[in-house]
Symmetry: C2
Subunit: 160 residues, 2 copies
DNA sequence: TGATCACACCGAACTAAGTTCGGCGAATAG
DNA sequence: CTATTCGCCGAACTTAGTTCGGTGTGATCA
């Protein structure tokens, strides 16, 4: 992997904050010519540092007032069951995220539903019928803070 | 809240998939004039449906090979302690997301670190010294699937 | 039922940005 | 000291963003 210099870091940080600013604005912010900036951004995409640009949507605006985290245990623990459940969960419209975990719980599923009743209905309709699920716990989310800007860890960060 | 019609839904879905497509492309996809499309997008932002545009970055490209979920219990359970831990965790560069939860665990923290050693160092350096933390469990993430496109739930979805 | 109003959409004109490319200058290696 | 490479720049060209007046449609009310 090619090195990212300071300019690349600033570009990446800026685009994480606002992916729709113009190339000229971005160039002005980082202090290089627009043409150079365009090339830098293109390279960042080509190198796979920037993987895409996405609009963020308000879940409440879409009528999803309640979020929850569902810890799910499935059995037996083999590839078919795990992949099967993962793609099943990922395909549900209520599901925001699916984590496959090491340790006690096998999955963690982040969902957004219209209401607490909706959460109950979701669990009953979508989860209870699945035979591979041997147990789950659900935790309603009171608050969710997301760090949108991710910088390279500085050398003083966690050990390599 | 004003109603979202089908055209708005398509616009929102498209911008979630690719926030950097041109307004003309977007207009062509949804089948309206560019000027109309521009106005629609502006209204979606004004109404708070679209909250922002963000570049997605490869964590591996930034040298963070390992992700984990940390379940954290803090005591005593009062506003100062909870807010204090939340903002502390949110301010750490390794932290991607902080969930404040109902139920047994009080927090769930999503972190990305360079390595398993980095995870260990993070827990020792950043968490162990905090007096309010009375316990935590960490789960390494094997896979993470994220649904980037979130549509309004159709009427057949979870009960309201 | 017919007239009026409101509203969203459209398209043209203008402004601004994206994109390409030739050349320049600095840094490096020979 | 010279040759080479590489990234950066800026001008020119292409394309897109933005504004605004006009138009058609659907709703409201007499």
């Amino acid at each position: 992997m090619m090195a990212m210099d300071d300019i690349d870091s600033v570009i990446v940080r800026e685009l994480q904050s606002n992916a729709r600013q113009t190339n000229r604005e971005l160039a002005a912010t980082v202090g290089i010519a627009p043409s150079t900036c365009l090339e830098r951004v293109r390279l960042l995409r080509d190198r796979g540092v920037i993987t895409g640009y996405h609009a963020d949507v308000s879940l409440t605006a879409l009528g999803r007032e309640v979020q929850a985290l569902l810890h799910v245990q499935v059995r037996p623990l083999n590839r078919e069951v795990i992949e099967g459940f993962k793609s099943y969960a990922a395909g549900l419209p209520e599901v925001l995220s699916v984590f496959v975990l090491a340790g006690g719980d096998d999955f963690l599923v982040h969902v957004a539903v219209p209401s607490v009743e909706g959460l109950h209905a979701f669990l009953m309709d979508r989860f209870s019928a699945r035979r591979e699920i041997v147990g789950f716990r659900s935790s309603v989310i009171y608050q969710h803070h997301r760090n949108r800007v991710i910088d390279p860890l500085d050398p003083a960060g966690s050990a390599r």
